[in-house]
């Protein structure tokens, strides 16, 4: 059985189910308790599980990452929240130099099973220090998994899989997805990490998109279908370790690929994806150059119109896709 839930509700349900099932799971971060989290995602969990397992921390992002690492190392299953992905910059040392490396450095003798949840993305008028999409920083670090769901059902299943996973997982949520709705199965289930999914099939062009851009790509695909352009949309869901096969297969079929993400283009995940595709057998099937559509290389502006222009919109995807299907190599 499933019912309609918002992305935020699906995440809350996953945390709730994990906490009910496993005593070792606990939740902590800034204002996750009575306040219910800056975006209301953890609303009600404090009332249900109490102050021992739902903990407000002071504004101390370094210690949030440190506590997650230390507790995970010694038998707990922490779910940490960093209130906005921007503030993860203050957690970097413990995440990158400790959590990510411990298992390897210690000869595989320890595990660090925690999930760090954090909302990313622009579109709320919160300007340059509250709108970052920094996922690719973590993709660059061996030892961290990076998950970025685009639908409520995926968010729930992937979060439960991330909590079960023996490795640190950076779980990137999108602020503009929190209120989007979708059908979500009831009860406990996991959606395996590292499984890309074809969200829509088509023969003319592949769009590989992440997070909110999956939603926009699907909207663009509907519009393009009216013009007779059949787009296939693939959502990696887990950026690291990446399940490249479905992407390679799709591109081999369509011969054209547009990569769409919100994070700024330079050094973004799109570059990695483009390289993976170029190095694969899909290269031989390409009828046009691999194209990327991504955030402009600037900090996120406050002004509404500038902010809108900084991030790919549905119409930008439509235009880029239209151009690409006409392009030849």
């Amino acid at each position: 059985m499933s019912r309609e839930l918002t992305y935020a509700e699906a995440i809350r349900e996953a945390i709730d189910l994990a906490m009910a099932r496993d005593e070792r799971v606990f939740l902590f971060g800034e204002d996750v308790g009575v306040y219910g989290g800056a975006f209301g995602v953890t609303d009600g969990l404090y009332q249900k599980y109490g102050p021992e397992r739902v903990r407000d921390t002071p504004i101390s992002e370094a210690i949030i990452a440190g506590v997650a690492t230390g507790a995970a190392l010694t038998g707990m299953r922490p779910i940490a929240e960093i209130q906005f992905m921007d503030f993860i910059t203050l957690s970097m040392e413990q995440l990158v130099l400790q959590a990510a490396k411990l298992r390897f450095m210690l000869g595989g003798k320890v595990e660090v099973p925690f999930v760090l949840r954090t909302p990313a993305g622009a579109g709320t008028g919160a300007a340059a220090q509250h709108s970052e999409s920094l996922e690719n920083w973590f993709v660059h670090v061996p030892g961290l998994k990076v998950v970025m769901p685009s639908t409520p059902a995926d968010a729930k299943g992937l979060l439960l899989a991330a909590i079960e996973d023996p490795n640190p997982v950076i779980f990137v949520e999108h602020k503009l997805l929190y209120r989007t709705k979708g059908s979500v199965p009831e009860g406990y289930y996991t959606t395996p990490l590292s499984q890309s999914e074809v969200k829509r099939s088509g023969r003319d062009l592949t769009i590989v998109a992440t997070s909110l851009m999956v939603v926009r790509a699907l909207e663009a695909a509907t519009k393009l279908a009216e013009e007779g352009i059949e787009v296939e949309v693939v959502d990696p869901r887990t950026l690291k370790p990446l399940d490249a096969d479905p992407i390679v297969r799709s591109v081999s079929k369509t011969g054209r690929v547009l990569i769409v993400h919100e994070a700024v283009k330079t050094g973004g995940f799109g570059g990695e994806l483009a390289a993976v595709i170029a190095e694969s057998e899909a290269f031989d099937y390409l009828d046009a150059p691999i194209r990327r559509l991504a955030g402009l290389d600037i900090p996120v502006p406050y002004n509404r119109e500038l902010e809108r222009r900084m991030v790919p919109q549905v119409e930008d995807i439509v235009t880029a896709a239209r151009r690409l299907v006409r392009e030849a190599r």
Partner: protein
């Protein structure tokens, strides 16, 4: 009589009262405009905290620097910013202090020594040490005052900054506006130290706690810290105890505090207190006060007009402002 008014002249006190009224009116109308959908994003109002912003900046010279916070509209006005350019920034207009790129959380006015609000809790605190060092190395007769909230004192960078400023004797005033909460986190839950100024002892520098809703007390404490800093004696930590009347931001259900508590603090209104003191001292009449209020209203109306009539940024300039 002058002593009880911290040595401030009647004219200066009128100026400071004007600033407090302007801050309050500015924020009240910004909130209204937000509710009307004319301003987007979010904003953090400092209503109830005008005493600490104005009292602290009153002890500074125009050439001194400040670094501010997400709750920084008061600091901005107190350091001399214009309401119209601030309002234009709220509207995201080209004529705003940040040309519409920054918004409420990033207003800066470098011409008045305001190096900027900050979206990051404790974001300005490390920079303050750098500004202090720069002043010291250039042998300038300046100081830097950095504002931050109670919540900011639990960031690691806070510790690093105070320690460095202490060992290098930097001309920095660390000004903590303890408004009792960091979002939903009561300071008593976030720190075992009862007086945040006690933390100064850990760095071997003076620490004082003042009533942040008493402009004159804030001014006197800041003045002493500024004198120390200018004299090459190094940093001071000031804790000003105050309270924010409004929610943390525009999306706060305020489940973590009671209406009674808010009311209790509203009775300690820093503006009403200064008005009372000035009237008791015979340097403010009812008439003069009414006039001042009317003047502020006119200023705010003009600021809103200016903001409304200003042009939006040209989208063609979107890539400006980054070298790389």
């Amino acid at each position: 009589m002058n002593d009880s008014l911290a040595g401030l002249s009647p004219a200066r006190l009128h100026e400071l009262l004007h600033q407090m009224l302007l801050i309050r009116a500015f924020e009240e109308s910004a909130e209204q405009l937000y509710l009307q959908g004319l301003i987007h994003g979010t904003m953090h109002l400092s209503i109830g905290q005008e005493g600490s912003a104005v009292g602290a900046c009153a002890a500074l010279r125009p050439t001194d620097y400040i670094l501010s916070t997400h709750r920084g509209h008061g600091h901005c006005i107190a350091k001399g910013a214009r309401a119209d350019q601030m309002m234009a920034e709220f509207f995201g207009k080209e004529t705003g202090y940040c040309r519409g790129r920054g918004g409420s959380m990033h207003i800066a006015d470098v011409t008045t020594g305001n190096l900027g609000a900050n979206g990051i809790v404790a974001g300005g605190v490390p920079m303050a040490a750098g500004v202090g060092l720069s002043i010291q190395m250039q042998r300038q007769d300046r100081v830097v005052l950095v504002f931050f909230g109670d919540g900011a004192t639990n960031e690691g960078a806070f510790h690093e900054s105070l320690n460095l400023a202490a060992i290098w004797n930097l001309p920095v005033i660390y000004f903590c506006e303890n408004n009792q909460y960091a979002m939903s986190m009561a300071i008593a839950r976030a720190s075992k130290v009862e007086k945040l100024s006690d933390r100064a002892a850990a760095y071997g520098i003076p620490g004082v706690t003042v009533d942040g809703n008493d402009l004159l007390a804030v001014y006197a404490a800041t003045q002493a810290a500024v004198t120390r800093a200018r004299g090459g004696e190094g940093p001071t930590l000031i804790e000003a105890r105050t309270y924010r009347w409004k929610g943390h931001s525009k999306s706060d259900k305020q489940r973590y505090r009671t209406k009674e508590e808010v009311k209790e603090w509203q009775e300690r209104d820093p503006i009403a207190r200064l008005v009372q003191r000035m009237m008791a001292a015979g340097i403010l009449t009812e008439d003069a006060f009414t006039q001042l209020q009317a003047q502020v209203e006119t200023e705010i109306a003009a600021a809103i007009e200016f903001a409304r009539n200003s042009p939006d940024p040209d989208p063609a300039t979107i890539l400006e402002g980054v070298y790389a």
